[in-house]
């Protein structure tokens, strides 16, 4: 609703506008993501201990000098595990996002550009998958278990493919009806040329928006899968698994749960902030 103008001569309070807010979000979120990325790359140099090293004499050590975030059931250093846990999630999420976005873009573009039977078939298959994400994912997880990381990436990517494909297809259908595409058809451009040269550049915003949103989802999904037990081999310092494994000890060793929980939250929230800021930027007219 519009701010009614106050009595004459008074300049009203100026709204800071979207730009300022999204800049702050972008800065905060970006810094966090960058920090985690650096940690994921260089944790061996940053972590004070080997994250799988067990120290039976110092089990459940509370935070303090020596172990800044304490130790767990096996006497493993919580801080080191938290730092090392950044790597698996930041391996899975970008990979799954890239794969899912790529596949989804191709599928969506083809379905949208060619239309007709191709579109019909593709959409029915997508429907089947998209309607039952949990079921398909659950069964696939179990089926592919033991092939851990690849399975996680594939399963997440598969579910993203459907989401991205639908958005890209919708965007493609909008573009396809636009006059510039008709002009190209009038000139006799071939379908693949229409798709790649005319339509693709104009759905890139959609693709980028999807990719950033999906990236956050991927981290969320990877963390959840890890919580549920799928993912890296046992003992790897994954955050979700750490929350799951250690929640028994919340009463006697809360640090073992809170450290990975906060790590997940910080990364996912940072991603959400960045995605939100970028989206409002890209989608602004």
């Amino acid at each position: 609703m519009t701010t009614s103008v106050i009595a004459k001569g008074i300049v009203p309070r100026i709204s800071r506008g979207v730009g300022g807010r999204s800049r702050v979000a972008l800065a905060v979120g970006g810094t966090l993501i960058l920090a985690w990325a650096v940690i994921a790359l260089f944790w061996p140099h940053l972590a004070p201990y080997d994250p799988v090293h067990q120290d039976p004499l110092h089990r459940f050590a509370p935070p303090g000098p020596g172990h800044w975030l304490g130790t767990d059931q096996f006497g493993r250093d919580t801080l080191s595990r938290m730092l090392a846990g950044a790597r698996p999630v930041l391996q899975v999420a970008p990979l799954a996002t890239a794969l899912g976005t790529l596949a989804g873009t191709v599928v969506g573009l083809v379905a949208g550009t060619f239309g007709g039977l191709v579109d019909e078939v593709v959409m029915r298959v997508l429907d089947a998958i998209v309607v039952f994400p949990t079921i398909i994912a659950a069964v696939l997880f179990v089926a592919l278990s033991g092939r851990s990381v690849t399975a996680v990436v594939l399963v997440i990517a598969a579910s993203f493919t459907t989401i991205v494909a639908r958005s890209v297809r919708a965007a493609t259908l909008v573009e396809r009806e636009k006059a510039y595409v008709e002009a190209a058809r009038l000139r006799g451009e071939r379908s693949w040329s229409l798709m790649l040269r005319e339509i693709l550049p104009n759905v890139t915003t959609t693709v980028l928006v999807e990719a950033t949103s999906r990236f956050g989802d991927a981290i969320f999904a990877a963390a959840t899968l890890s919580f549920l037990g799928l993912g890296q081999p046992p003992g790897s310092p994954e955050w979700g698994a750490s929350v799951s494994d250690n929640r028994t000890w919340l009463q006697i060793a809360p640090w073992t749960v809170l450290a990975p929980a906060l790590a997940i939250a910080s990364l996912v929230v940072a991603t959400a902030l960045v995605a939100d800021a970028l989206r409002s930027r890209w989608e602004a007219p």
């Binding site: 609703m1 029915r124 079921i135 659950a138 069964v139 956050g216 919580f227 919340l250 996912v268 902030l273």
Partner: protein, 318 residues
């Protein structure tokens, strides 16, 4: 409207067949053996083989699939391989439990999220909006098991206000039942509020900045009147689709919460039957969930159509 319904309903069986085939194919990839799972590792190999034959597991996969599908369609859902109870009882019981939790979460979610979204939208780009938006974004980004664990420890283990298990004792009063379900429902509400509020906020902003709202204000209506008469409905109607998405999620995305709060829901059943390769249970669960999902999506669309006169009466009515 009727054509829309018919078309959508007609698509359901097709999709279901595709899905059941997919699920079946995936099941074949799962390592392990249901006969061994039933008899245990110390049973003799010959006993296991005999059981396999007895269960019909020695038949080709396609045969088993077709048999199951035929049975499902004709209402003969059979017995669980492992638990030896009728699949119907098992699935419907778990489904009921999941529905109960999902609906409770939904019932808590809707007023909270819609109110927050409206408040944010009406005050958009003001502090209230910023607080609501950022909080919603943060909570919405935090996995439900993280919030769940924290709720569990605070309210259940430390304060002992609420039970750690969501499983409702058979003779529980409604209040007790609510006590059991409150923590898991809360962790879901916390997760979903941001998403729904965001949608409501967006449509509220659209409504608030719409020409008709401006026109109403220009006619001398107070802001409260404009909000009540014009913004509320126009802001909430588009949110039905967001709510539909959430309900769909709530019905099927509960595995982590079911696990965390030890709730015997359908997500856990699906997973367990997949691990056990308990084909009748797995397939039937998948189907029932699938039908439910589709109906929810359809329901959300129908509600949207009913609520929005433009869609209801057809835009091209000129």
């Amino acid at each position: 409207m009727r054509r829309f319904l018919l078309r959508r309903l007609a698509a359901i069986p097709l999709t279901l067949v595709a899905v059941s085939a997919l699920v079946f194919a995936a099941t074949e990839l799962i390592p392990g053996d249901v006969a061994r799972a039933i008899l245990g590792r110390e049973a003799s190999e010959s006993a296991v083989r005999a059981l396999r034959v007895q269960l019909g597991l020695d038949r080709p996969a396609a045969t088993r699939y077709v048999d199951w599908l035929g049975g499902f369609v004709t209402g003969r859902w059979g017995d669980s391989y492992t638990l030896k109870v009728p699949v119907r009882d098992l699935v419907l019981d778990r489904l009921g439990a999941s529905l109960l939790l999902a609906l409770l979460a939904f019932v808590l979610l809707v007023p909270v999220a819609v109110t927050l979204g409206l408040v944010a939208g009406i005050n958009h780009d003001r502090p209230a909006d910023r607080v609501i938006s950022v909080t919603g974004l943060t909570f919405g980004a935090t996995p439900e098991f993280v919030t769940g664990v924290i709720l569990l420890v605070v309210f259940s283990v430390k304060l002992r206000w609420l039970p750690a298990s969501a499983q409702i004792p058979p003779d529980a009063s409604p209040v007790e039942a609510l006590n059991h379900l409150l923590l898991p429902a809360l962790s879901l509400v916390i997760l979903c509020t941001g998403y729904v509020a965001r949608h409501v906020r967006a449509s509220t902003v659209t409504a608030v900045e719409s020409a008709y709202a401006r026109a109403a204000e220009l006619r001398g209506f107070t802001r409260a009147q404009v909000v009540r008469r014009h913004v509320l409905r126009n802001a909430t109607v588009p949110a039905t689709s967001a709510l539909g998405v959430q309900l769909q999620f709530l019905l099927g995305g509960l595995v982590a919460v079911e696990l965390l709060f030890n709730y015997p829901g359908i997500g856990a059943l699906l997973l367990q039957s997949a691990i056990d390769k308990d084909l009748p249970t797995l397939q039937t669960t998948a189907m029932v969930l699938g039908i439910l999902y589709m109906l929810v999506v359809l329901g959300a669309d129908v509600v949207y159509r009913v609520l929005d006169p433009r869609v209801r009466l057809g835009v091209a009515a000129r």
